[in-house]
């Protein structure tokens, strides 16, 4: 395991979009984190049932989507693009379908590279099907085999980046989020999530190594983004979602400890911390991902990104053109502007404008401030184990939010403020020893929902 015990940067001033200390060069010569930020476009099928009788239609739609977005990228002189194929469940349940779609995308990307010189790379993100068994079976069985088979086939056929939104611990985390129970969130993320990441990413890194792909990282989407969106809907406190975000960092970091090298996945907003710790490039999403979900961090999320993503968009017709083409255009213009600012020597100022335009308005944005991410990350790397890092991350996030609020740097609604104390009290109840924590909490966990042995517990 790689151990990250210090930050990858000496100064937060150097921590900026488009550049990372450990850039990645892809097969087609695209350098991610080498100075420029590039668009990462994700598209998905319109509403349809994907089955034996419709799969050919679905593959045709993928063919149309990739042609449309590459054509627009070429027309707008994009210096490079990343395409993400985040599969819908049937494409992982039937790995051959996912592999076939991958081939279609790669063929067209290779053609655009050969004919038009458009540099591109493909990220593949199969679904973590293991949660299809209830309670989830994480370490064996047909669902795990399906996921690994999809990775294997896609990497073999030329996918550049392997990613996943893995779900270890999610079976307990959903309810913990709805109850704003930070203790159970920390157990789900810091104990179950981290243990599962160690297991899963060992396999993914091996597959990537075998086929010359990059193990690119894992999003805590089902954890941090679920919390973010629930807070956006007014269901749970925003400060709670902000603290959960920071608590996801150690879990996502495990992929890199196991050998991933990025670029981290777009919806992993914890990437803001991962890049500071690992120096590896990250993908992020914000205002131009409003086609997929709303968020309070549309600008700040771009401040240190190396790829800029739309998260996902369906193949539907808008007034101008098909939605993926529209997304591609938006991302290209976003990136053009950011790259131009850097060329003029205004990169840091542009970064700070992205940061300052969001960070005072919402705690979920505030915890993504580069200075906040830096200071918290500095403390996280001093801690040896993932569980205690998770606990510490949550503690430090509360402290930073409180200080930001008290200093007038962050606005909070009145009903948010008491939750800082509530969360602090919840953390105080958590012992420092992982197994001791498990002993104290297991009576409170719904035994029907999870299998301790799938996480090496019992």
């Amino acid at each position: 395991m790689v151990r990250f015990d210090k930050l990858a940067y000496d100064s937060v001033d150097d921590y900026i979009y488009g550049s990372s200390p450990k850039p990645i060069k892809t097969k087609k010569g695209l350098v991610i984190g080498g100075g420029e930020i590039y668009p990462e476009l994700n598209f998905t099928l319109p509403t349809m049932d994907v089955n034996e009788s419709t799969i050919q239609d679905a593959l045709t739609i993928y063919s149309e989507m990739i042609e449309g977005v590459l054509k627009r990228a070429r027309e707008l002189y994009a210096p490079g693009v990343v395409i993400e194929f985040e599969t819908l469940p049937p494409f992982t349940e039937n790995p051959q379908w996912g592999i076939e779609a991958t081939k279609i995308l790669l063929d067209r990307m290779n053609e655009y590279h050969a004919v038009h010189g458009l540099k591109s790379a493909l990220r593949v993100t199969p679904n973590d099907l293991r949660e299809m068994s209830r309670p989830p079976v994480m370490r064996s069985g047909k669902y795990l085999e399906g996921v690994l088979e999809a990775f294997e086939g896609m990497a073999r056929d030329g996918a550049d980046f392997l990613s996943i939104e893995s779900t270890g611990g999610k079976e307990l985390n959903d309810e913990a989020l709805m109850n704003a129970d930070l203790k159970k969130v920390i157990f789900s993320l810091g104990v179950l999530g981290c243990r599962d990441m160690k297991f899963l990413w060992k396999h993914i890194v091996e597959i990537a190594g075998k086929h010359g792909a990059f193990a690119a990282g894992d999003s805590s989407c089902g954890f941090g983004n679920t919390a973010m969106v629930l807070a956006e809907m007014g269901f749970i406190p925003k400060v709670f979602a902000a603290v959960v975000r920071v608590a996801t960092v150690p879990r996502a970091l495990v992929a890199f400890e196991m050998g991933a090298i990025g670029p981290s996945k777009d919806c992993a907003y914890e990437g803001q911390y991962l890049k500071a710790i690992t120096g590896m490039p990250i993908s992020m999403e914000g205002k131009s991902a409003a086609c997929a979900h709303l968020s309070p961090l549309g600008n700040i999320s771009a401040s240190c990104a190396d790829l800029w993503s739309n998260e996902s968009v369906q193949q539907i017709k808008l007034l101008s053109d098909m939605a993926p083409i529209v997304s591609m255009e938006q991302l290209i213009y976003d990136c053009r502007l950011m790259n131009q600012a850097k060329k003029k020597g205004l990169g840091r100022e542009f970064r700070d404008m992205l940061v300052d335009s969001d960070s005072s308005l919402d705690p979920r944005a505030y915890v993504l401030r580069p200075d906040v991410a830096f200071e918290i990350s500095k403390e996280l790397v001093k801690v040896e184990d993932s569980f205690n890092r998770t606990k510490l991350g949550a503690q430090l996030a509360i402290e930073k939010i409180r200080k930001g609020y008290e200093d007038g740097a962050l606005s909070l609604e009145k009903r948010e403020v008491p939750w800082l104390n509530i969360m602090e009290r919840q953390i105080e109840e958590i012992p420092d020893n992982e197994l001791e924590f498990y002993d104290t909490i297991k009576g409170e966990l719904d035994a029907d929902k999870w299998l301790p042995k799938e996480y090496g517990l019992e």
Binding site: T47, T226, M233, I236
Partner: protein
Amino acid sequence: MDLQELSLAVQDGDDKKVKELVNLALQSKVSPENILNEGMIGAMSDIGEKFKNNEIYVPEMLMAARAMAAGMQILEPVLVETGVKPIGKCVIGTVKGDLHDIGKNLVKMMLKGVGIEVVDLGADVPSSEFLKKAEEIGADLVCLSALLTTTMPAMGDVIRVFEQAGVKDKYTFMIGGAPVTSSYAKQINADYYTPDAGTAADVAKDVLVRKAAN
């Protein structure tokens, strides 16, 4: 006995106090129906109003719902004994192929809060299970949830199963989930689309009140 104290205990999520006060109310010969309507459902209605007004969050609602459930453990046998019935019955679940259940669980909580008996089939539920359970309990409502564009069609499958069995018109079908719209509800022959849990409870209650009036 003043049921306001019971209502406040439910709203505070104080399970222990709720149990004590329900017992006390029964001993004081307060009618079980009044305890239910004024102490419990009234409390959940107030909580729902506070949520709508952005005064509280879901965790506080869940605490209240758990407190109500604690009180109902004592009250329910008495209600059955005295012939008091719920305002209606509902079968709820996330459709086949979809494991997302946060939204569905919220709807369940809100439906219970307005006095509807809810049978939760869970997530990834085959279409036939909805029919089987709805027929078994004599449900009034069938509530379907889906979060994925690829699983939305399974909501239509459920309704078709009821149509094929010739019993579709016995039930009111309500659907919801992030990608779902009212036009999609029309397309699959569902009766209502509701955008959130609070609206779902309001619509469900209206449907049942109208049904009772007919």
